[in-house]
Symmetry: C2
Subunit: 238 residues, 2 copies
Amino acid sequence: MDRSAEFRRWKAQCLSKEDLSRKGSVDEDVVELVQLLNGREQFFTTSSCAGRIILLDRGINGSEVQKQNCCWLLVTHKPCVKDDVIVALKKANGDAILKFEPLVLHVQCRQLQDAQILAVRSTHGLEVPLTHKGKLMVTEEYINFLIKIANQKMEENKKRIERFYNCLQHALEKETISMTSYPKEKIKEKNNSSYTHKKKRNPEKACGKYITEENNKELENDDHDDPGISVTIFPEDY
Amino acid sequence: MDRSAEFRRWKAQCLSKEDLSRKGSVDEDVVELVQLLNGREQFFTTSSCAGRIILLDRGINGSEVQKQNCCWLLVTHKPCVKDDVIVALKKANGDAILKFEPLVLHVQCRQLQDAQILAVRSTHGLEVPLTHKGKLMVTEEYINFLIKIANQKMEENKKRIERFYNCLQHALEKETISMTSYPKEKIKEKNNSSYTHKKKRNPEKACGKYITEENNKELENDDHDDPGISVTIFPEDY
């Protein structure tokens, strides 16, 4: 069986499997993005999360690494309301943490060159301890303040998903027209340019081919808080 | 000029450049790791941060994306003391945030197969808003509580750096003995196994070849808070 057929078979197998996430389905805000990718023969997604606000409670004996005693008090993929958080916090008997987690998307690629256009993780988060051994460590006013910030991040995350969708669509269209068999030398060139032209901030270029560049920039920013996206590639043809 | 010579030249050029980070030197806790990598002909590091606690002040008009008005009130690569944070917070006139950022390491590789053993980002962080328009939103007791958590994360991060160093050293030694010219088919197999055997938790395997697997697991954990490491590869020979 040739490479392409092997990939097609593997893709079909993965996509036909039951969705094993707690939710059991793809998050609404990334359905289009996931469909766009899965509709192209060279890609398929293995997991995704549109972004979420979660409130976790970690058992008193649970270290950062042990997760056995960790339970979810609240999870939402939409902006959340203070009262829901306050109510959920009452159930905390360990160390509760509020987190905002942005879009995560894992994509498998048929070829390494396809991976150049691909998959994404935003570095734009929030992780705030709220209770200690069940005792609330902050005021209601602070929780209100925090939820506003988490909701703003949720909004910003949604805009980024849209932006990424548009960039990706644009990149895939261009590829269909001009990259059917892309000369290897060109790819090499592009790849090198991501090392040398690090200071470019052109958003057009940050899409598509320049994702690795965004990633590379992370350490150069003074606060590591890169507004861009970072790459997670799983190409098949190493 | 052949590939290897080209990579050597590029490596020499990069390593001879002035260190452009604010600190101007490699963080103490990753010096050995950086030296281990740079001592191998197939790798070199382009940037690193051992992990740090930082207190940032974001200007009142500065959105999450704009960084112009962002200033550092405090930064430390060692555990920090409450009083230093309290003093630094007095200088905040915008929205101050305390962050813990774990190890980040960017590594360039001569060949794609080398990238399989490589570079790392831990997902183990902290990001807590503390002031709003200069007004402190939490109590001193909370700051104390938070600093203890940040310092614990710093300790845990240090242990992970040591663990990663040992794993990497082990992997590189094994490679020198057995992988001088690794058959392509084998690499392919290994690569596939990272998709299919996702549930393995053997720490030996989490080192080296299985880094992508750790990364892949991220979404399967209930709280995304992967204790492992995630890959950032910049192989030269796409």
